[in-house]
Amino acid sequence: MASVTLDGIGHAYGRAGTEADYALKPLHHVWEQGRAYALLGPSGCGKTTLLNIISGLVIPSHGRLLFDGRDVTRLPTERRNIAQVFQFPVVYDTMTVAENLGFPLRNRGMDRRQAAARVGEIAAMLGLTPDLHRRARGLTADAKQKISLGRGLVRSDVAAVLFDEPLTVIDPALKWELRSKLKAVHRALDLLMIYVTHDQTEALTFADQVMVMNEGRVLQIGTPAELFEAPAHTFVGYFIGSPGMNLLPASVEGREAAVDRHRVPLGAAYPAMGGQRVQIGVRPEYATLSRTGGLPVQVQRIEDLGRRRLARVTLGTHPLVATVPPDLAVSGGEAFVRLDPASLHVFADDRRVPGLAA
């Protein structure tokens, strides 16, 4: 058990000349023992590279990696006490479930009886006890994923458990069950867990803290609520939430923004942002369609999601998504959108600008 410190960790496959050469831009961060973190981002954003740096499959070209203050940057994988669960279930085909779980212990020369006891413990925790003496090969994908997780957990000295999109090949109906199993294991074992995914639901439900990444850069680290309510970057606003945040090019002066010729009141005053590209952002949840008052829009179509309805509208040439209140009957034509001033965010060159204290 340990905390993991990223001390200026960065990686460039090949030669590192300009910043664009980095698959992972240098970053500083501390992951604390006993907590669950998620790395969230689209494919190719550098999250798997970061994970492989922690597990030792990739040696970073820059910076130091510390486990509990000990430099492990160049330590080989097998000596790092890391457990990793991969996208595709990895089991040893010819072995039984029990042999699979005991494999890391046998490789480290643990006493047979002690190992068997530990395997029994972990199998019980993961619900694998009935299958212990079956061959691992014939099991379902979710059972195999549990085995790969179990192989990591049997080692009592494990410093962190890493998950690399572990639910990709799992049947949707079983994803929820496996995810709650992961949560339960996390609570029971008090381990540092790092979970890589491109699925925001997985990240937000699994983790205490989510690290949103794009193009090799960490854009924001925060709780799910923080990412939702105060995205630090337009990408976070757009990537988190379904659908993502509405972004409109605007100019901002004091407590008021202007989108084309329309005036939009803001929740706070903002400093002058000369020369920067300014956008205002609002989540569809805080943009309400109405018959009177607000910004004049053209309704393109209404999407009925069952529990709520969304309106795809255009404000001039800018597309917007707004929530349709339950009592409002619209199908098209002209309408208005009210934006909640308290939930409006101002971004300058894609970075969120905090409002000035009133």
């Binding site: 990895v90 010819t94 890391p104 490789n107 090969r137 790969s148």
Partner: protein, 296 residues
């Protein structure tokens, strides 16, 4: 509902294939069956001989029976030796082939070369190569004081043929295994590193189980081909010295074309064919059943 008209005349479309198979396989095959139950005094007049040829064939005390049983043992030993060398060696070679870079292409192409050489040319190459007087291999061995002469010494003849077959066909096993190895996702190797597995353990627990299916194919192909070997020993040793390397196929050709003993040859070729089929069937069913049991 399927509204397409049904016409049995469509069967006529099969006629060309049936005619072809009839001429290429069935009629020649039936001729052999005919010969196997008849005897001839020459002048193309045949008379019924019942199962006499087969009875001789299976009786080791007769001349033909003795030749047959000795050749059969030779074939089984040869296939066994060849499989025991080529399969492990092929796996080993496959493990050593680089996984990426320009060397992959170079290695694969150079490994394929022996397989592209016609059988009789392979035989000729090795016949010259192994000659004790002028062949590089034979002369070198003789020069080094190792008694080697594949025209007089059965052991020399056998080792020449075995080494030649290994040279000719190990790359096929290696290529099949290489394809199997390439199909193993990287995650397996990474997981093994995390689990602290050593090189042997990775081979034993990951690579070998994943190669199971290609190895079934490799064993089957190598068995069939080695069991039916003809051209290379015919060129290198001609079945000698004595009858030391007279495999079933060589003996068959001697009986049929050398002695024009059509009855014996026909009976032998039918039995030879059935043995090959049966052994392949046994190989295939046991190996696939082992495979199925492994996955249950």
């Amino acid at each position: 509902m399927n509204d397409k008209p049904i016409s049995n005349r469509a069967w006529f479309l099969v006629v060309p294939v049936m005619v072809f198979v009839l001429f290429s396989s069935l009629i020649p095959m039936m001729t052999v069956v005919n010969y196997s139950v008849q005897d001839s005094m020459g002048q193309n007049s045949f008379f019924w001989n019942g199962s006499e040829w087969f009875r001789h064939l299976f009786d080791p005390t007769t001349d033909i029976g003795g030749r047959f049983s000795r050749a059969l043992v030779r074939n089984l030993v040869f296939s066994g030796v060849v499989l025991l060398i080529e399969i492990p060696l092929g796996i080993l070679v496959a493990l050593c082939i680089p996984k990426r870079g320009w060397a992959v292409g170079a290695v694969l192409v150079s490994m394929t070369l022996p397989m592209l050489i016609p059988w009789n040319v392979v035989g000729t190459i090795w016949q010259v190569f192994a000659r004790a007087d002028i062949g590089l291999l034979g002369a070198a061995l003789t020069g080094a004081g190792i008694p080697f002469n594949n025209t007089q010494d059965p052991l020399s003849a056998w080792s020449t043929i075995v080494v030649m077959d290994v040279w000719h066909w190990t790359s096929m096993v290696a290529l099949l295994c290489y394809a199997g190895l390439k199909a193993i996702p990287d995650a397996f190797y990474q997981a093994a590193r995390i689990d602290g597995a050593g090189r042997w353990s990775v081979f034993r627990n990951i690579e070998l189980p994943k190669l199971r299916r290609v190895l079934i194919i490799a064993v089957l192909l190598r068995f069939m081909e080695s069991f039916m070997i003809y051209t290379e020993p015919a060129v290198v040793t001609g079945g000698g010295p004595g009858e030391a390397t007279s495999f079933l196929s060589l003996d068959l050709v001697k009986i049929a074309l050398g002695q024009v003993d059509l009855g014996n040859a026909a009976a032998l070729s039918l039995v030879y064919n059935l043995i090959t089929l049966t052994l392949c069937w046994i190989f295939f069913t046991t190996m696939t059943q082992l495979d199925a049991r492994g996955s249950a």
